[in-house]
């Protein structure tokens, strides 16, 4: 009933700027869909088209099975939570929340009941008579949500609602929003640039970049099986290590060289990945920091490294390693400035807090052979043949 379908949705602004390029996305009833990506990727524009605040250049948009391209926002039965809350400053919390209902001329008793109910869910009952300026950031954000909830819409649209809150509050509110959404079971489209929010809140996450959808899948799937280099580097912090390597054949088996070191590709990958390529051809090897382990001696996929820097976080230590004999190993192909990428030939590894690693040490590290990722060096696309 309340599902949302973007079908080849495109938005072109004056001056031929394509903000959203043929977006195909389906949000099921009750699903929490997160749109994530760096600034300018088109996620907010997509949301605004869904709300009816931006015109659709081409494509079809439907809500609840009905095509809504030309339907005014107020007739789409969607509620929006804005980034800066957009609370009406001259009205009280209760009036803010009840405003949409008042505009629709619902009976006063009904309005009061619905407002009270929403206030209960959001724990705002004591603040109903206050004005927005007398509220804290977190409270204001909840009022903005209350305004959306009260309307019992077919869908919630949220535009980076947590970005103006301080870190602590953000963690709390993440849980709150997820809880409320589950409680109410309303289809939700949530826009953010924060991949942590995407990972923790979404039923499915749609990663966007430059107006184009990169991949849409449940969070863990995005994490474990990224469709391209961009998604791989975007999801997860610290980001996946992406190393420029060259394909070679070693003892009749596919292998990759990283500078002067060589790593043989485990058998399991030859079937699932398309690794056949001319000798010496470039590709990108990805390995996440937590999948790198410091070892004694040679075993498995190991590399000779040198410790360049250590960052002790309390719960763990991030060790920045340079590869022995490598000068240009790191890929920067698919990245834009928004995604952190190291330009020095370093790997980042996570080790336990007790580990006694010091700058200048030479270490042998082992890569978890079940957790490798391969990407095409030119297009950034994953070399995996099909996603499980």
């Amino acid at each position: 009933m309340a599902e949302i379908t973007f079908s080849e949705i495109t938005k072109v602004f004056d001056g031929n700027v394509t903000a959203v390029d043929r977006l195909d996305l389906h949000v099921a009833e009750g699903e929490f869909m997160v749109l994530v990506g760096p600034s300018g990727c088109g996620k907010t524009t997509a949301l605004r088209m869904l709300a009816g605040l931006e015109e659709i250049s081409s494509g079809t948009l439907s809500i609840g099975g009905r095509v809504v391209n030309n339907v005014l926002p107020k007739d789409r039965d969607v509620a929006m939570v804005f980034q800066n809350y957009a609370l009406y400053p001259h009205m009280s919390v209760a009036q803010n929340m009840g405003f949409a209902l008042k505009v629709r001329k619902e009976p006063k008793v009904e309005i009061e009941r619905k407002v009270a109910e929403a206030a209960g869910i959001l724990r705002l009952s004591e603040y109903l008579d206050r004005r927005p300026k007398a509220l804290s950031g977190g409270q204001r954000q909840r009022v903005a949500m209350g305004r959306a909830i009260v309307r019992s819409p077919q869908a919630f649209l949220m535009d980076e609602p947590l970005s103006n809150l301080d870190a602590q509050l953000r963690v709390e509110m993440r849980l709150e929003i997820a809880r409320i959404q589950r409680l109410l079971g309303v289809a939700t489209v949530y826009v953010t640039h924060d991949q942590i929010e995407a990972m923790t809140m979404g039923d499915r996450v749609a990663v966007m970049r430059g107006g184009q959808l990169q991949q849409v899948a449940p969070p863990q799937q995005l994490y474990d099986f990224p469709a391209n280099e961009f998604v791989a580097g975007f999801m997860g912090s610290p980001p996946m290590n992406l190393l420029r390597a060259r394909a070679v054949i070693f003892e009749n088996r596919p292998a990759v060289t990283l500078g002067s070191q060589r790593v043989v590709v485990p058998d399991r990958y030859t079937a699932s990945h398309d690794l056949v390529r001319p000798d010496g051809d470039e590709l990108v090897l990805g390995i996440r920091p937590e999948d790198i382990e410091i070892v004694e001696g040679d075993g498995g996929l190991s590399l000779e490294t040198r410790v360049e820097r250590c960052e002790a976080l309390g719960s763990e230590i991030l060790v920045h390693l340079s590869l022995a004999g490598a000068s240009e190993t790191v890929s920067s192909l698919a990245y834009d400035a928004d995604v952190a990428v190291s330009r020095l030939p370093v790997l980042v590894a996570r080790v336990g807090p007790q580990s006694r690693v010091t700058v200048g040490d030479t270490l042998r590290v082992r890569l978890n052979d079940e957790r490798l990722h391969f990407f095409d060096a030119r297009s950034g696309v994953s070399l995996r043949r099909e996603t499980p």
Partner: protein
């Protein structure tokens, strides 16, 4: 720009269209009012400036009205008077600047003083003119002071003599502008970041240096605005003062272009020439305005 889905035709107005329509409708009354009562009269003024017009009938004459007008000694007297009055502008800017600096020191009770200094602005210039008339008149206060100081020989009748009447007008004008300009400069000073001043003081700069290198540059935008507002007031807002204090006299000594318009049109019934003078005034004001825009515009770019 247009929806390309073939099967759906926009039967309703889109949000954007609604917005544009609302925008146009909301702006319409203002546009109508300003066009009818300001734009149209300007056009008419241009037309009638080429005619002999008494308000009821007009006879076209042509460009010679303009050449004639500029041969009229009264116009030149008026222009000279305007020019002379410009001498008041430095005072109308300098005094408020000093007063604003004074207030900015935040001596006890400065807020009350600020209200007091601005109070005369609320009073009609008609009233201020009446008071000034009392002050400068032969039996007036200025002379009482002069007598009191024992300088009886220097008694004046400033408003009675051509040579001094304009000065009296100018002094009164400065008085009227003190409130507004002080307020303007005070606001400007308030927006000045105090840490700049403190940093300078730590570096050893004395009050004069601080003023010259920190305060004054910051205030330049405000001074520009005050300059423009003052000059425009000088050209177009002195009517009440002149009417009440001197009636333009003695002779034409205190007739500015502004007053000349009134006189030519309503006292003499020569609407055409008055319209012409009106355009002259407009040009003068526009020049000042354009100069301001240029200055402030270039400021932004800098």
């Amino acid at each position: 720009m247009s929806i390309t889905t073939p099967s759906v035709r926009a039967r309703q107005l889109t949000l954007r269209h609604r917005r544009q329509l609302s925008g146009a409708l909301f702006a319409l009354p203002a546009v109508v009012l300003v066009t009818a009562l300001i734009a149209v009269p300007i056009g008419q003024a241009v037309y009638y400036s080429f005619t002999q017009w008494n308000g009821l009938t007009s006879t076209w004459i042509g460009p010679s009205t303009w050449t004639q007008a500029f041969h009229n000694p009264n116009l030149w007297t008026a222009l000279k008077n305007n020019a002379f009055l410009l001498l008041a502008v430095p005072f109308a800017l300098g005094l408020p600047l000093l007063i604003a600096l004074l207030l900015h020191q935040r001596v006890v009770g400065w807020r009350i003083f600020r209200s007091i200094y601005f109070l005369p602005t609320a009073i009609s210039w008609v009233v201020l003119g009446l008071v000034a008339e009392r002050f400068f008149a032969y039996e007036g206060t200025l002379n009482s002071i002069i007598h009191g100081l024992g300088l009886s020989r220097v008694t004046t009748n400033m408003l009675g003599y051509e040579s001094t009447a304009l000065s009296a007008l100018g002094i009164t004008f400065v008085f009227t502008m003190i409130g507004t300009n002080t307020m303007l400069f005070l606001t400007g000073l308030a927006t000045l970041d105090p840490s700049l001043e403190e940093a300078a003081r730590i570096d050893g700069a004395g009050p004069w240096r601080i003023f010259r290198y920190i305060t004054l540059p910051h205030l330049s935008r405000f001074i520009q605005l005050a300059f423009v507002m003052t000059v425009i007031a000088l050209f177009s807002a002195l009517f009440s003062l002149i009417f009440v204090m001197t009636g333009g006299g003695p002779g034409y000594a205190t007739t500015t272009v502004e007053f000349l318009i009134y006189q030519t049109g309503f006292a003499q019934g020569d609407f055409g020439t008055a319209a012409l003078y009106g355009l002259v005034l407009f040009v003068l004001t526009a020049i000042v305005g354009i100069v301001q825009l240029r200055l402030i515009g270039s400021d932004d770019r800098a």
